[in-house]
Each structure stands twice: as structure tokens, then as C-alpha cells.
């Protein structure tokens, strides 16, 4: 791995030029997150993780293990209590459009009063970039990329749940983020739509080569998507308990015996990392 970490901060929001930074996108060392003062709750403790450029990383763990907390820290919504939390070698101080978060609840995340197209253009409007034809074209490309061009004049309540999630993807991509942070994005969708969303996401990821950090509690979902799976121990004081590299070529077939073997292995690990054990 080329460890050049010379990306200047101004390039973080750099434009259409392809990203060619060396070094990890995120590097976390001894990360600590404590909530509350009077009755402190240690959500994360000693989290060490390095996320490489262009990687698809899944954070896997049981409910309440602090996956979402970790993602919120990466997004900059939360501040770490201690330890090191670096994005391209610089401490994360707040949210920024180079790290766009993608939410499970599309109704809350989207603007229900704006059309599909206006939602995609929203990020550009915030930057005052809407009147730049190059950016506008970019927004239209993103709509096309997720197959929503023909629905662009509808409002979010008029399209299906799966379409709304695709709209969120398009909206995120339109501002040319470096990283997509996804918090159980498809957990509320039915199995068939979910499968299609996986295909759509992988398709977009392979074409756009963004880094993706994807939170899930579903082992099969992680196996279908990830380059690497970071399995978290059960809280309080969760950490990254295991890192598993998945080398299977995509598209991955759930019936693949190798995936089946990995599934069994992961399930064993997930159960192995019981609260009792992690307390020791």
C-alpha cells in the first residue's frame, strides 16, 4: 500500500478530477465514545480501524453494538471522546459533503415538498452551484445512474420505497462525495427490492469508485456487498472484534458454497462475541 498521505484539505472537496490519494480514507486509533455525563455510557472503546480508498466496508454487528455511533462519528455528527479519528490524515471536525450519509428513513431524509429532480439538485443549490451547467449535467447523470429520469417530476410520496432509496443515492452522488456512509439503508425494504438495491448500489460503486462504509446487522447482506467486513463486539464498550476479507468475485450468488462457509463462520463469530466474553 502506498502510504502517501499528502491530500491537501482543499482537495477534499475537489471536483470531477478522479481521486488519486494514497493512504487510507479513514484511520481510527483507540477511538473512545462516551455518552452522557452523570451516568456515562461507554459506547465505543479502543476502536482501531483503517478504511482504504475505494473500499466497500461493511460494519456488522448485533443491534445496539454501536455501529451507528461509529458511522455518526465518521460523518462528523458526533465528536469522539478520545482517541484518534482521521479523515485523510486530518481530524474530523464536523459534517462535510465529501462524506455523505445515507439514511434508512428516506421520508425523513428527503425533502417531501420537492420533486425528485429538485431533491437531487438540493446539494448543488446549497453550494450555489445550481446554475453551473456542468453541475446540472452531473445531477442529471446521477438521476440516470439510478434509473429515475422518467420520475423526475414526481414528489417523493409518489414513488416507491425502493425508488426513494435510489433517489437518496442520486442526491448523495450529485455532490461528488468521496465517501458514502450508509446506515442500514435497505433494512426497511422487502427482500426483492432489497436485492435490486444491492445490485444498483454495487453497480454505482463499481462505476463511481467511491469509498462505501455500510452498516448492517444482516450477515448475508454484508457478504453480498463487502470487500471487507468489520465485525463489532457487543456493547457497552464495543470495538472491532474481527476483520474479514471477502475475496469472492461479484456478483455474488447466495447459493455459493464458499459464501455459505463464510456465513457459518461469521455467524459463529457473531455468537462467539457474546457480552460475557467481551467483558473479560
Amino acid at each position: 500500500m502506498d502510504m502517501r498521505t499528502d491530500a491537501p484539505a482543499s482537495e477534499v472537496s475537489g471536483r470531477a478530477a478522479p481521486r488519486r490519494w494514497g493512504g487510507p480514507v479513514f484511520s481510527l486509533k483507540g477511538l473512545l465514545k462516551v455518552f452522557g455525563h452523570d451516568k456515562p455510557y461507554v459506547a465505543l472503546k479502543d476502536v482501531d480501524l483503517t478504511i482504504e480508498n475505494g473500499e466497500f466496508l461493511c460494519l456488522l454487528g448485533a443491534s445496539g453494538c454501536g455501529k451507528s455511533t461509529l458511522l455518526n462519528l465518521l460523518a462528523g455528527f458526533e465528536k469522539p471522546t478520545g482517541g484518534e479519528l482521521l479523515y485523510h490524515s486530518k481530524p474530523i471536525t464536523g459534517p462535510g459533503r465529501e462524506r455523505v450519509m445515507f439514511f434508512q428513513d428516506a421520508n425523513a431524509a428527503l425533502l417531501p415538498w420537492q420533486t425528485v429532480q429538485q431533491n437531487v439538485e438540493f446539494g448543488l443549490r446549497l453550494q450555489g452551484l445550481l446554475h453551473n451547467s456542468q453541475w446540472r449535467r452531473r445531477a442529471e447523470e446521477c438521476l440516470e445512474l439510478v434509473g429515475l429520469t422518467e420520475h423526475r417530476h414526481k414528489v417523493p410520496s409518489e414513488i416507491s420505497g425502493g425508488m426513494r432509496q435510489r433517489l437518496q443515492i442520486a442526491r448523495a452522488l450529485a455532490v461528488e462525495p468521496d465517501v458514502l456512509l450508509m446506515d442500514e439503508p435497505f433494512a426497511a425494504l422487502d427482500a426483492i427490492t432489497r436485492r435490486r438495491m444491492h445490485e444498483a448500489l454495487l453497480d454505482v460503486w463499481q462505476r463511481e469508485k467511491r469509498t462505501v462504509v455500510f452498516v448492517t446487522h444482516d450477515i448475508m447482506e454484508a457478504l453480498t456487498l463487502a470487500d471487507r467486513i468489520a465485525m463489532m463486539s457487543v456493547g457497552p464498550g464495543s470495538r472491532i472484534a474481527h476483520l474479514i476479507k471477502i475475496d469472492q468475485p461479484r456478483p455474488r450468488n447466495p447459493g455459493d458454497p464458499e459464501l455459505g462457509r463464510l456465513f457459518a463462520h461469521l455467524e459463529h463469530l457473531l455468537h462467539g462475541v457474546s457480552p460475557k466474553e467481551s467483558m473479560q
Partner: protein, 281 residues
């Protein structure tokens, strides 16, 4: 089909071959007809009840029957006195409501946005809102006399807190996720407020304004009862002094009808103009 089929029937057969029973009305039209039917039935029931109570229970003096009310109505309408009273009451409602809504809206947006301001002013709002406009009449008369200003002040009092409280709630209840989503797309604090919080608060603000509109009508009548020389409340008061129950009923019915129509105008105009903001996604 026999050979004696007329050309018209043949054409119908071609356009809708699969439908055995052809619906002449769409489901939407049938639903509207059903609702109108029930509204009619509701009023019919009320009128019959009114007649029965008037003739068989209280006697026509205490509760004049609809026919007597109608007989009282026409001369009042023709002379223009009724229209003048309606106009006076409506103008008081309009001015007090517009000012009350504007103040409640602006103050509510600030209080929803600035936490210190909210924590500082909210206790005052939460306690003083129990003072109904009627409770404020005596002091308002001392402050502003019995002129128009006193009426505007009372309607203002009846509207401002409803709009204020609902606006604050609307701003505070903007989904955190929506704000976070905008933050990571690069929104500034000012943009979050203008482009996220304000539009997200619209349904609450509209509810507050609608409640306040009803409250404005409720507020103006007692004010006119006690200190006025025009308006629907004044009409009620004068008729009561002269024991003209039929004229009292004319005024009561007019208040119902004018209030209802104003509310409907408000409801439909906001539903159409703010359709996108009110749609529950």
C-alpha cells in the same frame, strides 16, 4: 347478440367489452356524492330536531322554529343591518387575526430556532395562554377604551398564542435526520433554517393558523357583547335586551355560517397553495 342490435349499442360493446356493469360515476365522484348526502342528512336531522324541540318541548318563544328565524332574517338582510354587523365583525377578526398570526409566526420561528429565547419566553407563553380573550376584556377596555383598537387587541390575544405554540412545535419537530442529511450535503446553519426547518414546519403552522382562525371568531363575540355599538355580538346583546329570540337565532346561525365558510376558504386555499408542504410523505 342478436342481429337487431342498434349501432349505438355495438359501439359501446366495442369500447368496453370486458365490463359487465359499466360504472357511470368514478369512485371519487361517488365518494363526493356520499359525503354531500351525509352533510344534507346531518342538517336535515338538526332541523327536524329543532322543530320538534321548538314546538313540543320549549315552545316557540324560547327556541323559535326555523321558519320564524327565517322570517326574522329577511328584513334584517334587506335593511342591510345584518350585512353591516357581519362586515364589522369580520373586519375586526381580519385585522386582529393577521397581526396575531404575523407576530405568533415570527416569534415562533425565533423561539424554535434560538434555544435561549425559547427557554426564556416559553414559561410566559405557557402560563398566559390560559387567559382567554374574555378574561382580558375588562383590562383591555381600560387600556384601549371601547373603540376598534380594543377589539383588535382581543382578537390578537385569541390568535397569537395558538400560532406561536404550533410554530415552535413545527420548528422543533423537524426530523433530525433531515437536518443531518442537509448538513452533510454542505448546508450552513442559515440554510438549514430556511430550506429545511421552515418548510418542515409548514404543516404545524397551518394547523396553528386554522385553530387561531376559529379562536378569532370565538374571541370577537364576547368583546362585542360587552362593549360595542356594531357587530354580531352587539346584535346578540341588543336582541337579548329586547327579548327578540328570533333575532338572536339569526345572529347565532350567521356566526355558524360565516365561521364555517371562512374556515373552508382557509382550508381549501392552504390545501391547494401549500399542497406539497402539507403532503405526508
Amino acid at each position: 347478440m342478436t342481429a337487431a342490435v342498434s349501432p349505438v349499442e355495438t359501439r359501446e360493446e366495442q369500447t368496453a367489452p370486458s365490463l359487465r356493469h359499466r360504472r357511470f360515476l368514478t369512485a371519487r365522484v361517488r365518494e363526493i356524492i356520499r359525503r354531500i348526502g351525509f352533510i344534507g342528512a346531518s342538517f336535515l336531522m338538526a332541523f327536524i330536531g329543532w322543530y320538534v324541540i321548538s314546538y313540543y318541548i320549549t315552545g316557540p318563544f324560547l327556541i323559535p322554529p326555523p321558519s320564524a328565524v327565517l322570517r326574522a332574517f329577511f328584513p334584517m338582510a334587506e335593511s342591510g343591518e345584518l350585512l353591516r354587523d357581519i362586515g364589522m365583525s369580520l373586519s375586526r377578526v381580519a385585522i386582529g387575526y393577521v397581526v396575531g398570526t404575523a407576530v405568533g409566526l415570527v416569534l415562533g420561528l425565533f423561539m424554535g430556532r434560538v434555544r435561549v429565547l425559547h427557554d426564556l419566553l416559553d414559561p410566559i407563553v405557557q402560563t398566559t395562554r390560559f387567559l382567554s380573550p374574555t378574561a382580558m376584556i375588562p383590562i383591555v377596555i381600560i387600556w384601549f377604551g371601547i373603540g376598534e383598537l380594543a377589539k383588535y387587541a382581543l382578537v390578537f390575544w385569541g390568535t397569537v398564542s395558538l400560532v406561536l405554540i404550533n410554530t415552535i412545535a413545527g420548528v422543533l419537530r423537524t426530523p433530525k435526520i433531515r437536518q443531518n442529511a442537509a448538513l452533510c450535503l454542505g448546508a450552513s446553519e442559515a440554510q438549514i433554517f430556511r430550506l429545511i426547518m421552515l418548510p418542515s414546519a409548514v404543516p404545524f403552522i397551518v394547523i396553528g393558523m386554522r385553530l387561531a382562525l376559529a379562536s378569532a371568531f370565538v374571541s370577537i363575540i364576547p368583546a362585542e357583547l360587552l362593549a360595542a355599538d356594531s357587530g354580531l355580538g352587539y346584535l346578540l346583546q341588543q336582541s337579548s335586551l329586547l327579548l327578540q329570540t328570533d333575532r338572536i337565532f339569526v345572529a347565532l346561525v350567521v356566526i355558524c355560517v360565516v365561521g364555517f365558510l371562512t374556515d373552508q376558504v382557509f382550508y381549501w386555499s392552504t390545501s391547494i397553495l401549500l399542497r406539497r408542504y402539507l403532503a405526508v410523505a
